[in-house]
Symmetry: C2
Subunit: 249 residues, 2 copies
């Protein structure tokens, strides 16, 4: 088995290195990750400037780009053959519900499934840099063995969030849907020393829809959440209604 | 009616300015757009540094951030009250099928619907900077009047692509699904003067799925495509199958 690890916290982040320690026995494991933190990079790709890939150790590359860049580069230039599995993470911080739209971690996995390769995005539900990633890494390694990779439909990635508790305290795993989160008070205005306004994006999370089935509810109850995520954003339910308007231009 | 215009080509781009000329009669129209081109920024937001908003003219702001930043800032800091409609565009270049995942243009509209505001993303199917945006702007203005905004479900944006032809040559409008595009030969390796490798993301588009119903097919036939796009990425069809695996950790 050939495995590609990437992330958006950067190649030096604790999450990807703990994951590597747990995964490397499963097969030939590559790391191709951003040289620095690229959080909240969304699904950005770098088209206006060239990319560099610095080989730090055998099969480990630091890339001057986004997580999506890393996957493209790994598949098309750095790896001798495509991986059987791509794992993006372990991210420091949850990627739940609507968060996935902003998530560099998830975007790397999207890039993977767009290339036809089964992909996981894995996140630790904690913002504390001192968090212990071992139980999340252990969960990921177990899922690598147990998930029926050949039964996951193409164009579907598995988005996994692991509560930041000891392994024994995890209550199990739930197959979930994406909840809906919003950020309220999202912008803070401040004045610089010259009296001119500037703005910070901030805001606290408000869980709009966190029903029993959602990833948000699962992690709140100390379950690992596993959500199948695809990238066909067409809202099929509304197609016929819009057609009935008989729009003309 | 209060309207917010934004884009990812930057506030000085032709597309947003031609659009403004066609839209401004419909109501009080604001422009809050990036100060420079932010193409392929995906759904990135700026969290590590503060944002500036420079008021260029009355109700027109150039922002030092991404398209998604612009919408957040417009709604929470710059506009006196939320708009009734957000239009992102007119983008120079199509946003068809899988492209929407990378698109700063679409991400601004996603940000709009996440705030509960009806939103359009509008793109011109041309990469030629000298293209005429007038027919696309006219189409957009007509759709602003004719779309039943109150019937578009929350969390659904309308993604509109207009072929780059004269208005009279447009064959009409089709309500479409997102096709599937892939980029082949996506990475080009080169050597710098010191013999070290660097890489360009490149590649030509290959339309994997461009059936009759898709946006890709519609614009190829000189129709305007209108695709309802939502942001619930859960793959519901696979939920039960994954549950049947009875995964344990």
């Amino acid at each position: 088995m050939r495995i590609l690890l990437t992330n958006d916290d950067g190649i030096n982040a604790k999450g990807i290195n703990v994951l590597y320690q747990h995964i490397k026995e499963l097969g030939e494991t590559y790391i191709v990750a951003p040289e620095r933190e690229r959080s909240a990079s969304g699904h950005g790709i770098t088209v206006h400037k060239p990319l560099r890939a610095d080989e730090r150790e055998k099969r480990q590359y630091a890339v001057s780009g986004t997580p999506a860049d890393c996957v493209k580069l790994a598949l098309e230039a750095l790896m001798p053959a495509p991986p059987d599995l791509i794992i993006s993470g372990i991210n420091l911080g949850p990627n739940l519900g609507t968060d996935v739209l902003y998530s560099g971690t998830v975007s790397a996995a999207v890039e993977g499934i767009m290339a036809g390769i089964p992909s996981f995005a894995v996140s630790l539900v904690s913002h504390d840099g001192d968090s212990d990633f071992n139980s999340a890494a252990e969960v990921t390694a177990k899922l690598c063995r147990r998930v029926h990779l050949n039964e996951v439909p193409p164009e579907t990635l598995l988005n996994i969030n692991v509560p930041a508790v000891q392994y024994q305290q995890l209550k199990g795993i739930k197959i979930t849907t994406l909840g809906l989160r919003r950020y309220v008070d999202a912008v803070q205005e401040r004045k610089d020393p010259r009296g001119k306004s500037y703005y910070w994006l901030a805001g606290r999370v408000e869980d709009i829809s966190a029903g029993d089935d959602t990833d948000i509810a699962a992690v709140n109850e100390q379950f690992v959440s596993l959500t199948p995520v695809h990238f066909d954003l067409t809202n099929y339910r509304i197609l016929e209604q819009i057609r009935s308007w008989q729009l003309e231009i």
